[in-house]
Symmetry: C2
Subunit: 225 residues, 2 copies
DNA sequence: TGACGCAATAATGAATTCATAATTCAATCG
DNA sequence: CGATTGAATTATGAATTCATTATTGCGTCA
C-alpha cells in the first residue's frame, strides 16, 4: 500500500526556480558584483543547463530588483547607492514597525524568551567587542520578531526589500556611542515585546531603523566626499 | 542634424517585459480569472509571439504573486482569499502610513491643494450617492499621497502588494455608517497633511486601512458562511 | 599615431524543436 | 455499466537553432 506523502512531492522545482535562487545567492554573496554583466554563458556552463531557464531566472531577478535588463546587452547586477538606502530604509522601517505590532499580539511566550536570550548573547558580544557575532545576533533578533508576526506576506515583502541593501549591513562601522545606543534601543524593543505593547514596539523598531540609516549616512556620506 | 532624444530610445522593451504587463492586465481586469489555467498557447496566438517570452513573463508574474506555477501543469491565476487580505492589509497600512509621514515633509503646496480638491469632489460624490465616482476619487487621493512621499521604492512595493487585492476594493458595499466614517477619516487625513503633521498623518492612514479591513471582514465573512 | 571602415566573432532575444509528463479517448473486462 | 488499460493526443519544460545586434580585431588612410 502506498501512502501519499505530501512532504515529498514526486516533482522537483522547475530549473528556472532553482536558478533564480542560485543566481540571487551569487549576487548576495558578492560573487556577481554590482555593475558587472551577468555572464549568461558562464552560468549555463557552471550549472550545466541551457540558456532558457537561466534567462527566465534573470527576468525574475530583474523584477525583484537584483539586476537590470539592458536591451540587447543583457543583465547587469544592480548597483546599490546611498540614494537607494534613503528609499529602502523607510520601507524596511515601516514593515518592521508593523511586524513589531503584530509580534506583540501573536508571539508565543517561548518566542519572546528566545528573543530575550538572543539579546543577552548580543550584550555579551558587545562586551567582548565581537562585531561579527553581534551583527549575526542582531539579524537573528530581527528575523525572530518578523517570524513572530505570523504574516507571511509581510515577511516576504520585508525580505524582498531588505536583501537588496544587505551590502550596507556591515558598512556602518559603529562608533562607540552609536553602538551603545543601538544596544539600548534593542533593550527597549525587547522590553516592549515582553510587555506585549504593540504600538510602542512598532514605534521603537521604526526609530531604531531610522537611527541606523542616519549612521549609514555618516559612514557612507563620508566615504563619498 | 539629429538630436538625441532620451525620451524615445531606439530600442523597444523586450517582448517578455511587454507581455508581463499585458498578462498582468488581463488578470487585473478579470479576463484571466482566479483559479483558471493560464492558456499559454492561446496567449501566443493572441499576441502573435512564440512561447518563450510568454513563459518568461509568467515566471515574473509568479514571482509577483499573480499566478502560481504548478510543475508540469503550467500556471494558474492566483486565488485571492480572505486570509490573504488579513496578511496584505497590514502591509498596505504600514506602507501607506510611511507614505503619509514622508508626504507631510515632502509634498508641494500644489500637491496638497490637489488632494484637498479631490477630497471635496469625493464629498460631492458621497452626497449624490455616486459610489463608482467615490471609489475612483478615493484611489486618486491615496495615489496622490503616495506620489507626494517621493519614494519610488515605497511606491513600487505598495503597488506590488495593493494590486493583488484590487479585487477586494469594490467588495465592501459600504454601509451608511461606515461610509460616513470613511469620509470623516479622509477629512482628518487631509487636515493632518495640510498641517504637515507627519506622525499623525501616518497614524491616521494606518487606522483608515485597518478599518477598511474590518469592513471587508464583515462583507466577505458574511458571504462565506 | 589616431580615426575610420569593414569583416569576423560573440552575445542577445526569440522561435522552433525535442523529450517528457499529463490528459483524453477508445477498447476490453468483470 | 463501471473500472481498467493502453494508445493517441496535448501540454509543459528545456534544449537547440535562427535572426539580429553588439563588440572586437584588422587594415587602410590622413
Amino acid at each position: 500500500m502506498f501512502a501519499v506523502d505530501p512532504q515529498r512531492p514526486l516533482t522537483r522545482p522547475a530549473l528556472a526556480v532553482e536558478l533564480t535562487d542560485l543566481i540571487r545567492g551569487l549576487i548576495l554573496e558578492g560573487e556577481l558584483r554590482p555593475g558587472e554583466k551577468v555572464p549568461e554563458k558562464a552560468l549555463t556552463l557552471r550549472f550545466g543547463v541551457s540558456r532558457t531557464p537561466v534567462r527566465e531566472a534573470l527576468k525574475v531577478l530583474a523584477a525583484e530588483g537584483y539586476v537590470r535588463l539592458v536591451p540587447n546587452r543583457g543583465a547587469v547586477v544592480a548597483e546599490p547607492t546611498l540614494a537607494e538606502l534613503e528609499e529602502v530604509f523607510p520601507v524596511i522601517a515601516a514593515l518592521e514597525g508593523a511586524a513589531g505590532e503584530l509580534a506583540a499580539e501573536r508571539a508565543g511566550d517561548a518566542e519572546i524568551a528566545e528573543v530575550r536570550r538572543l539579546n543577552d548573547a548580543m550584550h555579551a558580544a558587545y562586551r567582548s567587542g565581537d562585531r561579527p557575532r553581534y551583527f549575526e545576533l542582531n539579524q537573528q533578533i530581527h528575523a525572530a520578531i518578523l517570524a513572530a508576526a505570523r504574516n507571511p506576506t509581510l515577511r516576504q515583502q520585508h525580505k524582498l526589500v531588505a536583501d537588496r541593501v544587505r551590502w550596507a549591513r556591515y558598512q556602518a562601522n559603529l562608533a562607540a556611542a552609536r553602538w551603545q545606543a543601538a544596544l539600548d534601543e534593542h533593550d527597549a524593543i525587547i522590553a516592549a515585546l515582553e510587555a506585549r505593547e504593540g504600538e510602542r514596539l512598532g514605534r521603537l523598531m521604526k526609530s531604531h531603523l531610522e537611527h541606523k540609516l542616519e549612521a549609514l549616512r555618516g559612514a557612507l556620506g563620508g566615504e563619498e566626499r
